[in-house]
């Protein structure tokens, strides 16, 4: 296999750099990188600066549902969805059944992943046994088995002492404690953001203060313990302000935002007439929050864009709004949403956006990061930023067809995904 990328846009997230250049891949290895490369013999040439090459795209927040909920997603279907979405590595959340709260389940994920061999999958273990928020899991044992971070995601660690211990204990492995910030006493029975739309639609609300108050507590705990804290899916400006404060004080805190919180607001729940695909946790918030999140992308208070890919079966969504499951299928729409709404609509440089989906999450999670460089395995994605097409949920590789974006015309789609030297995805087809 010989492919020459000519006059394409090369992204170097680790150097905050993007430039037009050539890159040559031979048998899965990047053999040359530079300007005006020319080659003899049979070589496929892919040309044009609308082809964007970005290394090691990582989605650090994915729900794979296996073991336990295989009708929603499996490691195999999730792997396919990941490479079709352009990701070379993903981290899977431990809210499976049984949860990933022990070494055996960590190994199970690795063994399955190796058999499937499409995308790198790094398990995240639970903070507490059974995700019950009471006693610490065997963080060390799971770490040595390959768990890259710890989270009770889906549940907030409501007991501050338990979280304090987790932040202290995990320091010896330098792994992030990933918090799902939600004071559940404030969100009981809630379905959407607490505010204008919840009043209008008569749905129970989940107020921003449920999130921001926990973010504040967690930032203080991270400051107090000097632990490594990552806050998942922030959705309101008040949380951002707290994280900004923490960063300014030198607290070891990072955070992520999802594409859907960047693109949708609570108004969409009303416009869609209670479409259960607008039901997420945290809920879609206000226009003001959305603006603040984009500002957080620009000023780097937000470190990571992660999908919170939450596949569900149609039966879990074709029900009463308050009974529907939370979350959407996100892996296969993340890149086009970010290119369409971040790059085209908001004019944010590609390298800034893509760094939050590659270098930053890889560093936070301590994952191998393979840049665009000479003599390294091809581990990059080609995004055609002038390709415009509609989201078709029926064509998702994921079992989760639960997306609010079905039928949306988006611009900027991944067309090729190389994982550690192998071209595993190309234009709608899984190749390996």
């Amino acid at each position: 296999m010989r492919i020459l990328f000519k006059n394409v846009t090369l992204i170097f997230p680790e150097k905050d750099l993007e430039e037009i250049g050539d890159l040559y891949v031979e048998n899965g290895i990047i053999r040359d990188i530079g300007k005006n490369l020319s080659l003899d013999g049979e070589v496929e040439v892919i040309e044009g600066k609308d082809k964007v090459l970005v290394p090691t795209l990582v989605d650090m927040h994915v729900h794979l549902r296996e073991p336990g909920y295989e009708w929603k997603e499996t490691i195999e279907t999730g792997s396919k969805a990941a490479i079709a979405g352009g990701f070379t590595a993903i981290c899977c959340m431990p809210n499976t059944n049984p949860p990933i709260d022990n070494k055996e389940t960590v190994r199970f994920i690795y063994e399955k992943t190796n058999k499937i061999g499409l995308v790198r999958i790094y398990p995240i273990g639970t903070i507490t046994k059974g995700r019950e928020g009471k006693e610490l899991s065997e963080i060390g044992d799971m770490y040595m088995a390959g768990a890259k971070g710890f989270s009770d995601d889906g549940n907030c660690v409501m007991n501050s002492e338990v979280l304090r211990c987790a932040l202290e204990y995990s320091k010896m492995f330098d792994v992030p404690i990933i918090e799902h910030p939600e004071d559940i006493n404030l969100t009981t029975e809630g379905s959407i953001n607490w505010g204008k739309i919840s009043t209008l639609l008569g749905l129970k609300g989940m107020p921003w203060v449920a999130e921001a108050s926990i973010v504040a507590r967690d930032v203080f705990l991270a400051s107090f313990t000097k632990g490594k804290l990552h806050i998942a899916h922030i959705s309101c400006w008040q949380s951002l302000d707290m994280i900004k404060w923490g960063k300014e004080k030198g607290v070891n805190v990072t955070c992520e935002v999802t594409p859907h919180h960047l693109v949708l607001t609570e108004d969409y729940v009303k416009e869609s007439l209670y479409d259960t695909n607008t039901k997420m946790n945290p809920p879609l918030r206000t226009k003001e929050d959305q603006e603040a999140l984009w500002e957080g992308i620009k000023n780097d208070i937000i470190d990571v864009i992660a999908t919170d890919h939450a596949p569900h079966h149609i039966d879990d969504k074709m029900v009463e709004y308050n009974l529907a499951e939370f979350g959407i299928s996100g892996l296969e729409t993340a890149i086009p949403l970010i290119i369409t709404y971040g790059y085209y609509k908001r004019k944010i440089p590609l390298v800034k956006l893509l760094k939050k989906m590659s270098y930053n999450p890889a560093k936070i999670m301590g994952l191998p990061y393979i840049p665009l460089d000479k003599n390294v395995p091809a581990n990059f994605t080609v995004i055609d930023i002038s390709l415009e097409k509609k989201v078709e949920k029926e064509k998702f590789f994921s079992k989760g067809k639960n997306t609010p974006f079905d039928g949306w015309a988006l611009k900027g789609w991944p067309i090729m995904t190389f994982v550690e030297g192998r071209l595993v995805y190309r234009e709608g087809k899984i190749l390996w």
Partner: protein
């Protein structure tokens, strides 16, 4: 003329459509006064009442309205259907629809259910109350009752008292009165006032005297007793002291004020018996008018299309 397949909320109705329903209800009420209360208008049409929440008045009201117009009715209650066997809502409704039902009248504790059904079935849907969202026929019968008593429905001051937060009746009434050109003030403890309610063009007060001072209509909401258990207010005693309508408090109101309540009442909590049974109260008329308004609606939605169907 009428051209809607469904009636889900007052939010989606125009002023003209509300007035059309009221006008039609006037002639329907005339039928109710006859000894033989039956006209053949909806002969051959089938209506299903599907109630996923307990209800006495709304359900009987719809069923009698349908029967007075000669429609066939069936009724499904959750306790006797396959819901108990774990069937989903949509499967239940599609099953009944397949038997040839023209119109569903649905009550459900989940807000938004009528939209969900309307999107997924061909038959019409009337919302008989969904969660905390809307209860359009209640608001329509309220408007009709006021029209009968006051001879007008615009330029009035309507005070809605009580648990606004959890009330679909309050929301539907707010939309209706605003559309008709009357003004609305809502009153209750702050824990029972929903956020951003001012955006629906209503005034908010926590002071009952203020709310009833200039009111033409005092609309008292039912206080669901379970709200106290959730800590939204301390005791029923204190609630009555602050927001209960009784002979003492009503002295501040206009002499010709109307007192309304959607039922069922908690006597001695949100309203005292003395007031509920007084001449100011139109609570029983509301119930009668409920049948007339629902007949009007069924007629407009199912029968009002050709001339031979006129009453």
């Amino acid at each position: 003329m009428w051209n809607k397949k469904d009636l889900i909320g007052i939010k989606e109705l125009s002023k003209y459509e509300i007035e059309l329903i009221i006008e039609t209800a006037v002639s329907m009420k005339e039928i109710l006064k006859r000894t033989i209360k039956k006209v053949p208008t909806l002969r051959g049409r089938t209506i299903c009442t599907l109630f996923y929440e307990p209800s006495t008045r709304t359900r009987s009201s719809f069923e009698l309205a349908a029967k007075y117009l000669s429609a066939d009715t069936i009724s499904i209650a959750t306790s006797t259907s396959s819901v108990q066997k774990g069937e989903t809502l949509l499967d239940t409704v599609k099953t009944i629809e397949a038997m040839g039902v023209d119109l569903f009248i649905v009550r459900h504790s989940a807000s938004g259910i009528p939209y969900f059904l309307a999107k997924n079935i061909k038959a019409g849907v009337i919302n008989a109350g969904d969660g905390m969202h809307e209860h359009p026929t209640q608001a329509l019968l309220d408007v009709f009752t006021v029209f009968e008593k006051k001879g007008k429905i615009d330029g009035l001051k309507v005070s809605i008292i009580g648990d606004i937060f959890h009330s679909r009746v309050a929301r539907s009434n707010i939309y209706a009165w605003n559309k008709l050109g009357s003004s609305v003030i809502v009153c209750g403890p702050p824990t029972l006032i929903p956020p951003y309610i001012e955006d629906l063009n209503v005034e908010v007060t926590y002071n009952l005297d203020e709310a009833i001072e200039d009111a033409d209509i005092i609309y008292v909401l039912r206080l669901q007793l379970e709200r106290q258990k959730k800590g939204l207010f301390p005791t029923l005693r204190e609630y009555h002291m602050l927001f209960g309508i009784n002979e003492e408090r009503i002295k501040k109101a206009k002499k010709d004020v109307l007192v309304m309540h959607p039922g069922p009442m908690n006597r001695g909590v949100e309203i005292s018996s003395e007031i509920a049974d007084s001449l100011l109260s139109v609570i029983n008329e509301q119930v009668t008018n409920g049948v007339a308004v629902r007949m009007a609606l069924l007629y407009l939605m199912l029968g009002g299309k050709s001339d031979e169907n006129t009453v």
